[in-house]
Amino acid sequence: MEYGLLIMGAPYSSAAPHSALRFASAVLSKGHRIAGIFFYQDGVHNASSLMTPPQDELNMREAWIELHQQHNVALDVCIAAALRRGLMSELEAKRHGLVNFNIEAPFELTGLGQLLELQQRCDRFMTFA
């Protein structure tokens, strides 16, 4: 089956990303596919390339990237929720006259339409918040 996930909690502040990651691994190892993960609300912080947890804690961003690399899972980040919270790609940074940025591929900034499309396309759609 095709799964889609909506994640709305930030790493280190919410258990939602941890639960979602564990669930995603279990889904994939049962032979299902994950079409995409959409990061919304405080979930956009999962994409921060400046996230630097202590050595004995999981780097959540790296875990998502591994999921993308091994299973081709799309990692979409809501652009409006991201900009407000201080997360932007190089392109958006330029557009706003900023030098620094903290969203990089495979994370993609996108609109809410992508979330609706993901929900419609998947056999199963789940929220972790």
């Binding site: 909506l6 609300q41 929720a81 609109g111 809410l112 419609q120 929220t127």
Partner: protein
């Protein structure tokens, strides 16, 4: 019990205290903008978004009420509140904005069964 080809967006958080309410409403607005049909259900703290006497917040705080007023322009006319929520908050329906439908609390289970897509905010 048919599954309507409609989205149900559930608003469960109060205005101002977080962005959850606003970003939930945004999903409803985008659904409508893409031509989809959407109903809004206000549960618990979410009902506070419907109090008609709300005004703009402190300087720099964006108010919720203008977004609620905007729903009609997007043809989102199905604003539902269960009677239980009003009772729990000691709110009467005349304290709410125009166009809210109070539904019997006992209809909530069938309401959730009826929609193909439900998003809880």
């Amino acid at each position: 019990m048919t599954r309507e080809n409609e989205r149900l967006v559930v608003i469960r958080h109060a205005p101002y205290s977080s962005n959850q309410l606003r970003e939930g409403l945004d999903v409803a607005l985008v659904t409508a903008a893409f031509g989809g049909s959407v109903s809004l259900l206000f549960l618990g703290q979410g009902v506070l978004a419907l109090l008609k006497e709300q005004t703009v917040g402190a300087p720099g705080q964006k108010a919720t009420l203008p977004t609620i007023d905007m729903l009609e322009m997007y043809d989102i006319e199905n604003l539902l509140v269960p009677a239980e929520t009003l009772q729990a908050f000691n709110i009467t329906s005349d304290q709410l904005v125009e166009g809210v439908t109070v539904i019997p609390t006992s209809e909530l289970p069938s309401l959730f069964q009826r929609y193909a897509s439900v998003l809880n905010f």
